[in-house]
């Protein structure tokens, strides 16, 4: 939430993150090359590059897709989420290397321009029903890779916070949901491409396992969310709803509760309980899963700050979360179900645990 944009807001943590990323990507790439060379010494450098970059990119995509749900289950994965966009941009560049070299290797020699050659069924015999039965090996798999590349490009190109602000959070988020389309397109690309000639059963097994793990993680995370949304409402009095026991909100920590279909974040600071909207102004992160750092509510995703008493980001920042009125009565937290107008100060409610 810098007031003046910078190309990359690097800090110590992000530098460490990026360094680790580069080292791991290089390791995967080199191991893939090593294994390929062990399996066959005839493989050319171009082929190694084409396949190595593709496999590394696809692996990275699996990591990217796994981080979100993992961080919902275990806060130890949050540091991975913190700089996920750098994973995405790295993946795009790997995919770009693969696409460019594959296009040059397989399409540059013809008399049709390479791009047209990639996008059309550039061979007369590229017909899945050419000789009677259905032949997946004749399915034009490359346009699927190209379509995925376009999506990955749009996501990488709009990963800077400038875009979040200037495209609007809704449009930006919708655009970035495109990652699922890209994943689908890529599995088709690989299934009808590489898997038609690559016979080792390890390939489809690993791909299938990847799908099951990613889908399973997302399913489990969705169930957890749904359980929260279905949480039963407590008693209601003068517009206040009983949401939990005060002892369930620990000092310096947050807790997410439901109030009439809205998620609200409760925080306890110096024996007072405060309530704000749970939706971070940055990318909609779950504020209530964060903690209080230096007196400010800190979003678990990328660390944006809000003051507990009025929901305002500390100056010079301007983001504001709605606050909610709170009453703590006999060890129970009662929450006013309607939010206050933006910027309203609430003193919070004193907890008497003793």
């Amino acid at each position: 939430m810098s007031t003046t944009y910078r190309a990359i807001d690097w800090n110590r943590q992000k530098r460490r993150y990026d360094l680790t990323l580069v080292v791991l990507v290089a390791l995967v790439f080199l191991s893939f090359m090593g294994v390929s060379l062990l399996r066959s010494t005839h493989i050319t450098a171009e082929t190694l590059l084409i396949r190595g970059s593709a496999v590394t990119a696809l692996l990275l995509l699996h990591v990217i897709l796994a981080i979100g749900p993992l961080a919902r289950f275990d806060p130890r994965f949050l540091p991975l989420l913190y700089n996920r966009r750098h994973l995405g941009v790295t993946m795009f560049f790997l995919a770009l290397v693969h696409s460019v070299f594959a296009t040059v290797q397989f399409h540059a020699l013809g008399d049709e321009s390479p791009l047209v050659s990639v996008l059309t069924a550039y061979r007369q015999d590229y017909n899945v029903f050419a000789s009677g039965g259905f032949q997946p090996a004749h399915f034009p798999f490359e346009p699927f890779g190209a379509a995925a590349l376009v999506i990955l490009f749009l996501m990488a190109a709009t990963s800077h916070d400038f875009w979040l602000r200037n495209l609007g959070a809704g449009f930006w988020k919708a655009l970035h949901l495109g990652v699922y389309a890209a994943y689908g397109l890529l599995l088709v690309h690989v299934a009808f491409g590489a898997l038609q000639s690559e016979r080792s059963p390890a390939y489809p097994l690993v791909l299938g396992l990847g799908f099951v793990v990613i889908a399973g993680l997302h399913l489990a995370a969705a169930r957890k969310e749904a359980r929260l949304d279905r949480a039963e409402l407590g008693a209601e009095q003068d517009g206040f709803i009983s949401v939990c026991r005060a002892s369930e909100v620990r000092e310096g920590r947050g807790r997410v509760v439901m109030a009439r279909g809205q998620r609200v974040a409760l925080f306890r600071q110096q024996a007072r309980i405060f309530a704000t909207s749970n939706v971070c102004r940055h990318q909609g992160g779950p504020v209530g899963e964060g903690q209080i750092v230096d007196g400010c509510i800190t979003c678990p995703w990328h660390g944006w700050n809000y003051q507990p008493e009025d929901g305002c980001s500390p100056p010079p920042f301007q983001e504001v979360l709605e606050t909610y009125n709170i009453r703590v009565i006999a060890g129970h937290v009662w929450l006013k179900a309607t939010a206050n107008p933006l910027g309203t100060r609430c003193a919070g409610s004193l907890v008497d645990d003793r």
Binding site: S117, T120, G133, W163, N166
Partner: protein, 151 residues
Amino acid sequence: MVEFVHASLLAIQAYGTLGLVFALAFHWRGLSRLDQGSRGAGLGFRWVITPGVVALWPWLAVRCWRTKQVGSFAEGPHASAAPGRLRAAHGLAWKALAVLLPLAVGVALWWRPIDPSSGDVTESLPRTAAPGSPDASLPPQPHQPETQRSH
């Protein structure tokens, strides 16, 4: 099909060229008017957003135009995505993937040609020769048998 792709690529080229021209104008005047945060931002930031400006210029053009109409339009600090709708879209995406992907990959694997060497065919990688290249007349996969599994 080839004509259609030619035409589409031409359209994309035109769109991109317009995008480049727009990007120049945008960096010259539009950017600092559209978003306060870009005032005083360095060259690195401008480079980082340029691919997106070229790709999404109509959106920015509308924003710039509306900013002129109503003063300031850059998304206020109070806007945020509707998390409920987003979760719904997310769920829908996974439902679609859960059905389509196993189906597609299943089809690709079930009907794939029987492997004649039943061993390593890594060397057969360059199976997509470009038209007009010397080996374009060869079948796409020299090792591929004529016989298909019959289902």
